[in-house]
Amino acid sequence: MANENTLTKPPAEESADQERTRGGRHYRPTVDILEKADELLVVADMPGAERDTIDIQFEDGSLTISAEVEPRQPEDTEYLLEEYGVGDYYRSFQVSEAIDPGRITAEFAEGVLTLHLPKAETSKPRKIAITTSA
């Protein structure tokens, strides 16, 4: 049960676009989103996920992260304390910044997914030189 003080995984706000063959709750990974000079960095906590089951989609400015996570304990486990649930991850973002989709890269280590979204050339800040008209 979620105590107000307990930092549990929030459930995903929206259901996946496609019908899933397996039921159960899915969870919204907590993320940090950082903007650097030449890229956006999305860092998502997805403990229990495995690299092979993570799916990342980028289409028309919409970024979707999902992962299938199998239960780690049998369904009939009687918990003395059950403060969080285990299940699939799903989260979707709208990215209004111009991104170069061909150069998106991702790393996954220790349950943390790091996504690099390089900015498209056009959206990088450009220094405009002022010429003096003499």
């Binding site: 003080n5 995903a12 940090d32 989103i33 304390l81 709208q94 209004s96 349950g111």
Partner: protein, 149 residues
């Protein structure tokens, strides 16, 4: 803001959140009444269950390496200390900052004596699992009844 979250909340999710809010008061009560360990703001959620002669404790600690986790068993209490440093990147703009960081301590009162020498902890894909075997004196013992004749 660069990012916008798609926000179409499912009615079932709303209902569950509402129930969680109603019931969180009960959790608060059991915690303060000493039925279950004391709570502190910002602690990590744990799952705890018995499996045969062991007690299992599981926490989600994404991004932590084993030297950022400290586990000790003293006087019937399991103490788990976590230290996840925040991002040290400079000159960046945070659009979102939801991931927890800092030092977190969680103390759990154990329901029975454990064999502290045989406690195991493993960290895999950001999930920490601690296995605490029951002490000999905590294992169930069959008492045979002697017939007096």
């Amino acid at each position: 803001m660069v990012f916008r979250c798609v926000n179409t909340r499912h009615p079932l999710n709303q209902f569950r959140d509402e129930m969680d809010r109603l019931l969180s008061g009960v959790a608060e009560y059991t915690a303060t009444a000493g039925l279950w360990p004391r709570t502190s703001r910002g602690q990590r959620a744990v799952n705890l269950w018995e499996e045969g002669d062991t007690l299992n404790v599981e926490l989600e600690v994404p991004g932590l390496s084993s030297d950022q986790v400290d586990i000790s068993v003293v006087a019937g209490e399991l103490t788990i200390e976590l230290n996840r440093p925040g991002s040290k990147e400079e000159g960046v703009l945070f659009h979102r900052r939801e991931r927890w960081f800092g030092e977190i301590k969680r103390v759990l009162r154990l329901p029975f004596d454990v064999d502290a020498d045989r406690v195991l902890a493993e960290l895999h894909d950001g999930v920490l699992k601690i296995t605490l075997p029951k002490a000999e004196n905590a294992k169930p013992r069959k008492i045979s009844i002697a017939s007096v004749s």
